[in-house]
């Protein structure tokens, strides 16, 4: 165990050194292994997610990319029988240890899911949910937070006249942007997005991508996507997962133009997956 950790540490240092223009990582993952029961879903993952960057995670279905994303806010534990070893730090704090309450981690790390999942409440209550949970009671402050978050999510103009109507009256794309606004309302450091546009039509997808571009100066984003064009359009860095391992991770432009691994080349050119 110790030896692998040392090796991983060296590799991480090596990577950081090699790319001096990278900013300091928000997340650092070293030698992460994860099992669902006996199925080995993540194998020795080493990956950094840099501040104020969009990191795309691509790979075929079942390659572990969603599992990895859900490890970053420990949502992976909501299904039973998960064993994790290795190291994941978030802003320098070990998040896999007992000393890190998931509630604290998740209040700093938002998540957007595959299918829009607004609560069966009003638009306002959806956005105000997080701040309320975290103890904001003042109505005036809540109003400001809700408006601000909806503006950031480019949804304010569309919903300002029906804030107190059910979120289910919105279209799928609007619902997904509402879910992003719901994340933004707790002022997170990172937003994890798990194929956020896979249930949306092209126009809504475009709007969500626009939104990602517009918020990336405020918040770090890690996005899992099936869509390689999307990864190349919106991300700064891309990691390619295959069978629970990282095959390659590089600047997006580099990875898509001159992949070093043959399998990456095959995948991004549609020869499998």
């Amino acid at each position: 165990m110790t030896t692998t950790l040392v090796r991983n540490d060296k590799e991480t240092q090596f990577r950081v050194m090699k790319n001096e223009n990278w900013q300091k990582p928000v997340y650092e993952t070293n030698g992460l292994n994860l099992w669902y029961g006996t199925a080995h879903a993540l194998k020795n993952i080493d990956l950094s997610i840099n501040e104020k960057e969009v990191t795309a995670i691509i790979g075929p279905s079942g390659c572990g990319k969603s599992t990895y994303l859900k490890t970053l806010n420990r949502m992976v534990e909501t299904v039973g029988g998960v064993t994790i070893s290795g190291n994941v730090t978030f802003m320098g704090n070990n998040i896999l240890g007992k000393s890190m309450p998931v509630e604290l981690l998740r209040s700093k790390v938002g998540m957007v899911f595959q299918k829009p999942n607004p609560f069966p409440k009003s638009i306002y209550e959806n956005v105000a949910f997080g701040p309320k949970i975290h103890g904001v009671r003042n109505k005036a402050i809540l109003d400001i937070i809700v408006e601000d978050s909806l503006r950031k999510a480019a949804l304010w103009d569309e919903v300002k006249d029906r804030l107190h109507k059910s979120a289910y009256g919105l279209s799928g794309g609007q619902q997904q942007r509402l879910c992003i606004a719901r994340c933004l309302a707790v002022d997170p450091e990172v937003i994890l997005m798990d194929e956020p546009t896979s249930a949306l039509d092209p126009v809504s997808t475009h709007k969500v991508e626009e939104l990602i571009r517009s918020i990336k100066n405020d918040v770090t984003i890690a996005i899992v996507t099936h869509n390689m064009q999307q990864a190349s359009r919106i991300s700064d860095r891309t990691a390619f997962f295959l069978n629970g391992e990282i095959v390659e991770c590089d600047r997006t432009s580099t990875l898509f133009s001159t992949p070093t691994d043959e399998r990456t080349d095959d995948y991004i050119n549609g020869r499998f997956g």
């Binding site: 309450p101 509630e103 604290l104 209040s107």
Partner: protein, 290 residues
């Protein structure tokens, strides 16, 4: 990280675990109540469970009082309830699932069954008293009580059988039609055999309800001290819960022990029936998996 936030979160987590204990203790108390109930009744009644308790008729003397008439009466009652309720229940379920057109009359029947399920059992007693005991002059006989109980458990049987029939895969139906079978043949030879496990599970549970029901029998005027065994469907009789009710009401402590013993017998019958129900459920689940 933010200290204030961390403190707030520890408070929220503490509240969460406190609530978990609170909710969990509600479940624990529930389990404790059932243990207490079984222990309390079991400890008092177990001494009365000897052979004479089963071979004696009811009596004014607590130490002589036995279950003979009540046990035979309950069995006789079930001999009416089981065929009657199963026949009507199965026919209704088959009709509603396989034949019924989607119209107002069908909707009305369905609504009616759900209403019937919510009618208090004592009201079924009033129906039985007026229709079976008096209008049809069956008296306080096994038949009158059996018909009343059949109506009481009918909604449960119908709903359980409907669910069972609905869960038979359409592929089986299509396979049968594909071989030229008529609808009725398909129902008889394909659907019912695959649904029978779940139908039996639901039915047995409803029969155990009929065995334990007391209020309708009281309203029908079923007597408690009966010194003979029933001779036919029109014979007067008494039943297990009636006997327990009578003993429970009497002030002498010795009768309370007899009531406890009677309850033990009743509960053993019910647990046995539940075990059969679970057996049929598991068997039908296995069958559908294969």
């Amino acid at each position: 990280m933010d200290h204030n936030l961390q403190a707030k979160i520890s408070r929220r987590i503490a509240k969460d675990s406190a609530m978990k204990w609170l909710f969990g203790s509600a479940a624990a108390i529930l389990v404790a109540v059932i243990a207490f109930l079984f222990y309390g009744i079991g400890a008092d009644g177990v001494d009365r469970l000897n052979l004479s308790f089963f071979t004696n008729f009811g009596s004014r003397f607590p130490e002589k009082a036995g279950l003979k008439a009540a046990l035979v009466g309950t069995l006789a009652l079930m001999a009416v309830v089981i065929p009657v309720s199963m026949f009507i229940g199965l026919c209704s379920a088959i009709y509603l699932e396989e034949y019924a057109p989607k119209n107002k009359w069908t909707a009305f029947i369905e609504m009616n069954i759900s209403n019937l399920a919510g009618v208090p059992s004592v009201v079924f007693g009033l129906l039985g008293l007026t229709v079976f005991v008096r209008a049809m002059s069956l008296g306080n006989s096994i038949l009158a009580a059996g018909l009343t109980m059949s109506l009481l458990i009918l909604p449960i049987i119908i709903v359980a059988s409907q669910e069972a029939i609905r869960s038979v895969p359409d592929a089986l139906r299509e396979a049968s039609y594909g071989m030229g079978a008529t609808k009725w043949q398909t129902i008889l030879h394909v659907i019912l055999p695959s649904a029978i496990g779940s139908i039996l599970t639901g039915s047995i549970l409803s029969f155990s309800r009929a065995i334990g029901e007391t209020a309708p029998l009281i309203v029908l005027g079923i007597p408690v001290i009966v010194q003979f065994l029933p001779t036919g469907p029109l014979s007067t009789f008494t039943a297990l819960p009636m006997q327990i009710y009578d003993w429970a009401k009497r002030p002498q402590p010795a009768f309370a022990d007899a009531a406890s013993a009677g309850i033990i017998v009743l509960l053993i019958m019910l647990v046995t029936m539940n075990a059969f129900a679970i057996y049929f459920r598991n068997r039908s689940e296995k069958k559908l998996k294969n």
